[in-house]
């Protein structure tokens, strides 16, 4: 994604790759059984020691980034872990941290939770999707009704990543004062987590029901109506997705190119057929464009540019669409072996499929772009 990395960023990358390959090489991921935990808390804690949950958190809250530009470092890390379709709560933990850091000082104090998440002692996930809903974080059906000093939560969330292993959930809920977010321990009475089938072998998701769940006012994250915090969470989620998909595409494309050179038919390598060469040229172009738009989004989100929302949607809509085109064409070029269990391709296709689906589909983001453009004066 980034054209040039500093030596600190490279070190950050290498240490992440080592920890991933030591515990979760592709063969182990391929062998994962239904119901088996996708990752161990011990492993995640080792990752946290390397800074996997620290880069977007200020130093005074226990965080810190290797380059001083934490959002971009997070992109670099997501790319490195994505190239091995890593398991683990990288996306959910960093998205929840985004909310906690953005609202720090503007509502109930969550310093202890932030520090535990940064240290990898605690794991959190964003409960935002609902069973009947497409991407619409500002229109939750789950309600938080004021009750005495606190609130009562009722409703159902689904597609909550790593819900079974999470200690805390960031729940997006409707209150009389607007949409609000609550930090709710999964152990709270009335919270039930049910595993949900998903196609990605190294991720797990759960449906979470909230039935008369009582939380104190100190569970609030910021204040109701803080839509810009949710926007920031979305941007961070999209960046992590796009960065890891860039890495997925690098891997898949490299496999297909190598295959095209090695595989001979009719006495010549596949790479010599113009029909295939031209498809490779298209894919190579889209690959560069995926990196370019992801990098541009990372810069804009890092800088909190007024264009950050637009550039996040540009990246997600483009990378989401092209990633599936590229991976599926690489499968086609591999021939029958590309749809076998033994081949690595499907591990990457699984990740790309889920990543384009969540936090706004490419089409959702195109609609958002049209709306953002209509809201901006021409010129």
């Amino acid at each position: 994604m980034e054209l040039e990395l500093s030596s600190d960023q490279k070190l950050f990358q290498t240490s992440a790759r080592r920890l991933l390959e030591k515990e979760y090489p592709l063969d182990r991921i391929r062998g994962m059984k239904d119901g088996e935990p996708r990752w161990s808390r011990d492993w995640w804690q080792q990752g946290a020691e390397l800074g996997w949950a620290a880069s977007i958190v200020p130093e005074e809250l226990g965080g810190g980034s290797v380059s001083g530009e934490g959002v971009r470092d997070l992109g670099v890390l997501a790319e490195e872990l994505g190239s091995g379709v890593a398991p683990g709560p990288l996306l959910p933990v960093n998205v929840v941290l985004t909310a906690l850091v953005e609202t720090h000082g503007a509502g109930p104090d969550h310093t202890a939770e932030i520090e535990a998440l940064v240290a990898g002692e605690s794991v959190a996930s964003w409960a935002v999707y609902e069973p009947d809903g497409e991407w619409s974080p500002l229109a939750p059906a789950l309600t938080a009704t004021p009750d005495g000093d606190g609130y009562v939560l009722d409703g159902v969330k689904d597609r909550v990543q790593e819900a079974e292993q999470a200690d805390l959930l960031l729940v997006t809920a409707q209150t009389p004062d607007g949409v609000a977010q609550f930090l709710v321990p999964t152990a709270t009475e009335g919270v039930t987590v049910t595993p949900q089938w998903n196609v990605d072998l190294s991720r797990s998701f759960g449906e979470v029901s909230f039935s008369g769940v009582r939380v104190g006012a100190d569970a609030l994250v910021g204040a109701p109506g803080a839509d810009e915090v949710i926007e920031r969470q979305l941007q961070i989620a999209v960046l992590i997705q796009c960065a890891e998909v860039c890495a997925v595409l690098d891997r898949v494309f490299a496999m297909a190119v190598e295959w095209a050179f090695d595989r001979y038919s009719f006495g010549r390598p596949l790479a010599s057929y113009q029909e295939l060469k031209h498809r490779f040229a298209d894919m190579r172009t889209w690959l560069e464009a995926c990196h370019a738009t992801t990098q541009a989004a990372a810069e804009a989100i890092q800088d909190r540019s007024p264009e950050a929302a637009e550039l996040a949607s540009v990246a997600k809509s483009f990378v989401g669409d092209k990633s599936l085109l590229i991976v599926q064409d690489c499968v086609q070029i591999h021939g029958g072996i590309g749809v076998t269990w033994e081949h690595d391709l499907h591990l990457f296709l699984r990740r790309a499929t889920i990543d384009q689906a969540l936090y706004g589909t490419p089409e959702d983001h195109r609609l958002r772009l049209a709306d953002l453009a209509a809201a901006t004066p021409k010129g």
Partner: protein, 413 residues
């Protein structure tokens, strides 16, 4: 070189103030008016504007000081481009004059050629064009058959060229001709600087399906050029042409540092999908909004990729042939826009709006030229060959003329 370079920010602020005091504001209505057959006035205007920029010290930002440029960086040029939005700029001089021809002369010309031609172009006195393609061949440029025969100290040129962009408005052309027929095709070519009004040059304008007359064809009947007109080496013209093709791909994809100013609206035509949605009364339809968003995203991605690839080529992270990535992506963007325009206009495509041609009419005409962006500046098929063979290292296409003396190569009639 002890002089320190002005910072981009300081340059930007100076440009902002100067533009506000000196450059005319961009007139959107004039821009949207239908293209006049005779645009001589537009070209005179472009020269005037260039002279204005030169007088103000904002011309030739990335050309060296020795040739009347400013010797600054692409970052300075980008800052200037951003600041110049909303002002009338001599955009017509960007391509091919500055970004392809002057850039190539800078790479390959003699000191005299650089001083005379680049200087005059930067000062707004002259315009450059290219005499490359020929009626006998499209993608196979090196198979051209215009001949340049030695006559004492001179060369005598005979043959014909086509697809010369805005040659009618130009003063000088980079003309590629065959000087040696006994060697393989790439090794017998020579590049010349030819005055477009030289005795023996006959020029016609080619009418395109959208009514554009920007292209010309030329016939050469014993055009005499001195030896000092040779750019690069005699029989070494392919090296020069390769630089032109590189600069062309680079600028088509938005990666050239010699392009000054930016189009007021993105895309190939002046009508955007959002305009068409508006004119068709469909701007609120979610299907239409998704298409408008698609166009916005692709336009942004094309810009972002141009910036990344340009930086990558400059730093060596990408090979120079990676400019073809930009060429290909830009063609995809242009086609996508035309296709989205048709779908957004719905049942109104093919018809005028607003009591005349209107946005839907312009979209219809634009659609007739849909393939233009995939043909001009080398077809996308050639770009795909370059990317697969030169960027990815895949085997080259078989060619029956490889290493064969050109006079033994089969040609069509």
């Amino acid at each position: 070189m002890t002089e320190t370079m002005e910072s981009v920010e300081s340059f930007r602020l100076r440009a902002r103030a100067w533009l506000a005091d000196n450059m005319p504001r961009f007139d959107e209505e004039a821009e949207n008016a239908e293209v006049a057959e005779d645009d001589t006035g537009d070209w005179l205007r472009a020269r005037e504007l260039q002279k204005l920029l030169y007088a103000g010290g904002f011309a030739g930002i990335c050309f060296p000081k020795e040739y009347d440029g400013l010797g600054l960086t692409p970052a300075h040029q980008r800052a200037f481009n951003e600041e110049s939005a909303g002002y009338e700029m001599p955009l017509a001089l960007n391509l091919p004059s500055f970004a392809i021809c002057a850039a190539t002369i800078l790479d390959c010309g003699t000191e005299e050629q650089k001083r005379d031609r680049i200087g005059a172009a930067v000062r707004g006195e002259e315009i450059l064009c290219q005499f490359l393609s020929e009626p006998s061949g499209g993608s196979d440029l090196a198979g051209l058959i215009t001949r340049a025969d030695r006559d004492g100290d001179n060369f005598v040129i005979n043959g014909s060229k086509t697809w010369s962009t805005s040659a009618y408005a130009a003063d000088w052309a980079l003309c590629l001709a065959r000087t040696n027929w006994d060697v393989p095709k790439h090794r017998g070519l020579t590049m010349f600087l030819m005055p477009t009004k030289a005795p023996g040059v006959t020029m016609n304008r080619v009418r395109m399906v959208n009514g554009s007359l920007e292209f010309c064809d030329e016939f050469f009947d014993n055009v005499v050029l001195p030896a000092s007109a040779v750019v690069g080496e005699v029989d070494g013209g392919w090296a020069v042409a390769s630089r032109q093709l590189f600069h062309e791909r680079n600028s088509m994809g938005g990666g050239s540092p010699f392009v000054s100013g930016q189009r007021q609206r993105g895309g190939m035509s002046h009508v955007t999908p959002a305009d068409i949605a508006e004119a068709s009364g469909r701007a609120a339809d979610p299907r239409v909004r998704a298409m408008v968003g698609h166009s916005i995203a692709m336009g942004r991605v094309a810009q972002q990729t141009a910036r990344r690839v340009t930086r990558g080529i400059a730093s060596g992270a990408l090979p120079p042939t990676a400019a073809s990535l930009l060429r290909l992506l830009h063609a995809e963007y242009a086609q996508l826009n035309d296709d989205l325009s048709v779908r957004i206009a719905g049942s109104r495509i093919g018809f005028g709006s607003e009591g005349g041609q209107g946005a839907t009419g312009r979209a219809s005409i634009g659609y007739l030229m849909r393939q233009g962006g995939s043909l001009g500046g080398g077809s996308t098929e050639m770009a795909r060959n370059v990317i697969s063979e030169r960027v990815l290292g895949m085997p080259r296409e078989a060619a029956l003329d490889r290493d064969v003396p050109f006079n033994q190569v089969k040609r069509g009639r």
